[in-house]
Amino acid sequence: MKQTNRKANLPLLLLAVVLIFLIVCPVGMIFAKAVMQNGRLDFSPAVQTLLNPENAHMIGNSLLLGVLVVLLSTLIAAPLAYLFSRTKFARYRVFDILFMIPFMTPPYIASMGWILFMQKKGLLQQLIPAAAGCEKIFFTLGGLVLVMSLHVFPFMLTMLKNAMLNIPSSLEEAGAVFGAGFSARMRKIFLPLLSGNYAIGALLVFVKTLSEYGTPSTLGKRIGFEVFTTEIHRHATVAPIDFGSSATLSSVLVGICLCMWMLQNYITTRKSYNLVSGKGARRVEQSMGKGATVAAWAYTVLVLLIAVGVPYFSVISTSLINLRGYGLAPGNFTIAHYVELFTENEKGLSALKNSVFLAVTSATICAVLGTLLVLAVRKSHSKLRKVVEAIGLLPEMLPGIVLVIGIMLFWNQIYNILPLYNTMGIMVLAYVVLFLPYTVQYVTSSFTQISDSLMAAGQVFGGSPVYILRRITLPLIRQGIATGWMMTFIIAFRELVTASLIAPPNTLVVSTFIVREFEQGSVSVGMAMAVLCVLFSTTALLILNTVIDHRKVH
């Protein structure tokens, strides 16, 4: 019996070794770099980094930004969540997709759009000359908070909306029948029931904001607002290069994130109610008067205009403007920038090729590795499975930039043994590490929809393990694997922070190409690439959706 157990655990053991090498070693390397000097434990450089007033200021900045973004995204999302869960607006399913657009738009592209729109003599001031001076209001902490909240509010919206949908109407109706008016019901029933889910959403938004690099590196830099991610990036790329400081700041950031995750875990177990009851759970729409309906439509359209309209208008119109000096004027439009990307601009074409290559390879490797991981974890009964699963999901809990720093440090260290650093190989590897959790999650969730008895039935009717895997398991989880592949492809295609840190010299991908053109080349060419990037990933997403819907119908 023992013998067979060992045999069954062998694949799991192998996976554990691979994952430790790929994920745990780099993370460990960060901590080691932070507190080890020449092979000895030495905390003084770390302490020095932390005591540096500039860094203390930066940490304050990051936390302040996190709190403000949580507040503003709540303000934006809460009314929408109520509208789209408890009123007739819930029937307009198309908004589910529309509100995901800001979240699916790469943050660096959205912030470039905002910069082009709001800057001095920018698009807004060309359209409305009276808006002159608006840049003084926008290029501040307030503007940064606005742009980041507009990116992240769909996430808060989804969390809150699902929480509201899960509150059975009868709980509110009971409040009404027993004498509580609308505001009393809100105060005493609705909001207390939401508080747990809201706290979880707020913590996730906070962690996301702290981990975000795209917006702080484009908009934040313009206003001199330094945060964790930009400082870690600066220490690792700008001379004098100081990996020690990068590692110390990364460790602090990881510490903060882990605290938030633990807090989230605590709230989930303590403060969430088992609300979905099977029998008689019905949802009743809150009725709305004419005035309320008009106000609700106005608010919905306004949010979409600001969150989607502004950045997309800016990016698309800039990509079509011939001479930026003339601005938005008849006759000053051209598609030359797009043509240029495919003809004379070799860098653009090679960046596109690189991104497609990276996205396809990393998505494929993730699909294989992630599926193997889930299969091995589900097969085994040893304690190791929890560990393997946790490691597989770890990259999602850590800020991307921290993992990339860890990978840089680790692979630099073992360059003599495995000379992967400074090649495309290290990029593929970093992408795989970063995006592995997508496959793991999608495949796991497709497994939860399959009853174990289906596999048992396969065994009873004489299927060998391989036959069962091929004929039963794989067809049933195929959709989970495909979804994971597509998500990885989309995210990898536009990934910025990894590429900007770890790409070999003179190798550009779509994101770094856009940033470079935006900062020191032709803004219009950069924006043309941005439009292509968004179009490309949106098409991929639409294909994915159609495939899933198509499957559901059958």
Partner: protein, 317 residues
């Protein structure tokens, strides 16, 4: 409190779920709305509570009009002063049992002697020691009692019950049935009860309104509904019925296997037999009609059996 519905109608989209309906619920009685799912019984109850707005008609509580489409009156549920026991109990999971029960009193600002009133209500449902528990720490039957205590503590003129026993298992359901009935009688409350379970309706109610396809088919005492069903639907839905022809039926227990005076004889073939413990349930075939009959002794399949039926037991619908 007497509740009066006058020509009430309601449609969801194109589907009219309540045909024009008028009826009066007597003060101090327990009235049951009985019918299959989708018949409109729950919609009627929710309209009385104010949770659903009728398209037309009027609803009166004694001399107080709480809804009128013509006079544009629609008192919201929080101003109607009713008690309500929900199908899923609808206990607030973030409040203790005490706070759940106290909710209605606090909402109305009746905090005078609040402690005492809540304790009395919990005592009435035998949950004296559970005041500080949370709903998820209670069993299904206890949750049901809390829901009831929450309804009686505000001393409403009427309590509405929306299939309150359907979330309980069979044994508990039977226990709660008699417990509820005893409490309602003791407290002298007017009650409106919705259920699809005919035994529940029969055993608890003073009057039953049988609903079908958005209409009330018959409104009468349980005994009358059983012995004199007014329509074919009522006859088929309540109790088991053996049909003599298209319009005539009898209840199985009215027939006997021995001849009596003024009884007509009917022959039938036994097609199936089930042992029920105390008796045998027979499936019979009489001229192509399927009948059932409860027999004290075993009969074999294929045997012929004669049933004797007094003429007075034949019901015409």
């Amino acid at each position: 409190m007497e509740i009066k519905l006058v020509h009430v109608t309601k449609s969801f989209g194109a589907k009219q779920v309540i045909q024009p309906t008028s009826f009066v619920i007597q003060s101090g009685s327990l009235t049951t709305l009985l019918g299959p799912s989708g018949c409109g019984k729950t919609t009627l109850l929710r309209m009385i509570a104010g949770l659903e707005t009728p398209d037309s008609g009027e609803i009166w509580f004694e001399n107080r009009c709480v809804f009128s489409s013509e006079k544009k009156i629609n008192i919201p549920p929080e101003k109607r002063g009713l008690g309500f026991v929900f199908q899923d109990f609808a206990l607030w999971p973030h409040m203790t049992v005490f706070e759940n029960v106290a909710f209605g009193l606090r909402a109305a600002g009746k905090t005078d002697k609040l402690d005492e009133k809540v304790k009395n209500a919990l005592h009435a449902v035998q949950l004296d020691d559970f005041a500080q528990r949370y709903p998820h720490q209670l069993s299904g039957g206890q949750q049901q009692r809390v829901a009831f205590a929450r309804a009686i503590v505000i001393e409403p003129a009427c309590i509405l019950f929306d299939e309150p026993l359907s979330a309980l298992d069979a044994l508990l359901r039977e226990e709660m049935r008699s417990e509820l009935r005893t409490l309602i009688t003791k407290l002298g409350i007017t009650g409106v009860f919705v259920t699809h379970d005919q035994i529940e309706a029969m055993s608890m109610s003073d009057a039953i309104a049988v609903c079908h396809a958005g209409k009330i088919e018959q409104y009468d005492t349980p005994e009358k509904i059983y012995s004199h069903p007014a329509t074919e639907f009522v006859a088929r839905f309540v109790g088991s019925s053996n049909w003599l022809d298209q319009n005539h039926l009898f209840r199985p227990e009215q027939a006997q296997t021995v001849p009596t005076e003024q009884a007509e004889k009917y022959d039938a073939d036994v097609t199936a037999v089930q042992f029920l413990g105390s008796s045998y349930q027979l499936q019979l075939n009489h001229n192509g009609q399927d009948w059932t009959y409860i027999s004290p002794r075993r009969v074999s399949v294929g045997e012929k059996i004669s049933l004797y039926l007094p003429r007075s037991a034949i019901v015409a619908v």
